[in-house]
Point group: D2
Chain length 136, copies 4
Amino acid sequence: MISHVRVRYAETDQMGVVYYANYLVWMEVGRVEYCKSVGFSYEEMERADGIFLAVAEARCRYLYPARFDQDVTIETTLSDAHARMVSFAYEIRSDGRKLATGETKHVFVGRDLKPVRLPKKYLAHFGINGGAPLPR
Amino acid sequence: MISHVRVRYAETDQMGVVYYANYLVWMEVGRVEYCKSVGFSYEEMERADGIFLAVAEARCRYLYPARFDQDVTIETTLSDAHARMVSFAYEIRSDGRKLATGETKHVFVGRDLKPVRLPKKYLAHFGINGGAPLPR
Amino acid sequence: MISHVRVRYAETDQMGVVYYANYLVWMEVGRVEYCKSVGFSYEEMERADGIFLAVAEARCRYLYPARFDQDVTIETTLSDAHARMVSFAYEIRSDGRKLATGETKHVFVGRDLKPVRLPKKYLAHFGINGGAPLPR
Amino acid sequence: MISHVRVRYAETDQMGVVYYANYLVWMEVGRVEYCKSVGFSYEEMERADGIFLAVAEARCRYLYPARFDQDVTIETTLSDAHARMVSFAYEIRSDGRKLATGETKHVFVGRDLKPVRLPKKYLAHFGINGGAPLPR
């Protein structure tokens, strides 16, 4: 799944490049669109089922700076999934150049932020209990 | 009520100064501390009573740029208050220089974001029904 | 000029709606795209000519909350322009509903953040010295 | 070196807790204060010497959510340093509970963002060429 963001002025810092924390925001954009691409809405899972994806770990390697007004692509892939957690990998590019790579690991939690098992109806979306994760 | 923030690198942009939207974040810091200074906790009002301060209007005039690592002060005053809304005014300074002035206007809302009247126990904190606003 | 943003999770706050300062970021998205639509690149004006648009004033009226994952449109219009300043107006909508209206006023500054006159080659883009602002 | 931040409303998201990217902003607050604590100003190194700390890698493990208005401490330690790079480790706590741990790795770069060796006058601050890093 490939997502696009246009670098906002707000995302730059006085070094003249994108501030490092904003790459994690772009990863969020990527995984929300990934969820849609496999057929379910993260927004609806939260609202209708009270299931949230709490971040357990995030990592980013910065290879080349992103600059204001660039068109940036985020390629999101599912790297691991169980009934209790899911991991995503990201490759962030612009103008044919790799800017950054990242990973996030999430646990499914309820409204009280306590861990829960992902309800059955969502399992297939993540390729769980149904063989290999869906290729994207 | 005077609040302090230290300018974060994250708050700057490629112009080398603080990005304009961040002044509204500082105003939030100012009014949260203002609420504490008049004897009540905004956090508790939300959690215990389900009363939120929804922003109806915000305005900022930028006079002089703020820069990374500066110590910035926000002077917050209550400019108007009724049982249904409250307005704050802000003066943002650093090194004896006025950087910006601003105002925000808020309506009290419940968890459903529908307007409500402020419960009686909070009225006095805003100087409502009890004469002039408390001097700060 | 109509711009689109998809509401990011990062842009929400614990009230469950978009945090008020983020509307100013969307206004920036709107005016950068407005500049492109009238034929010049804000990014290039900064880099090649050292001309920046410093914000002098910003204002936003919040009518209805924006929520995660909504498709939001920002309609940007030029409301005033001289050789030394420019003003934009914004109308922010989603699902056919007006969420907010705003205005920003900017002065042209050089790399030292001192006010400058806009170079002649840019005047026409803002409809200055050439009659009425371009209708958008 | 222990730094303090008060959780801002702007930093929360609709899950009711601090959005994950904001922990990286807090790490920045921690390392800027760390630099001051060992006797030099990051702001001055940038301005006077044109040396920047470009982030090469960032990682965060999230153990327990941070909430609005909490007083959060960031303990920053120098974990590695050479003439070309420096690494920091962070422990983020509130109310006696560990919220998160993180690491960042940085390379020294010039104004053109090309890697440089740290000038001699700064080496001692990072405990380079002078034995073990300064205990903090």
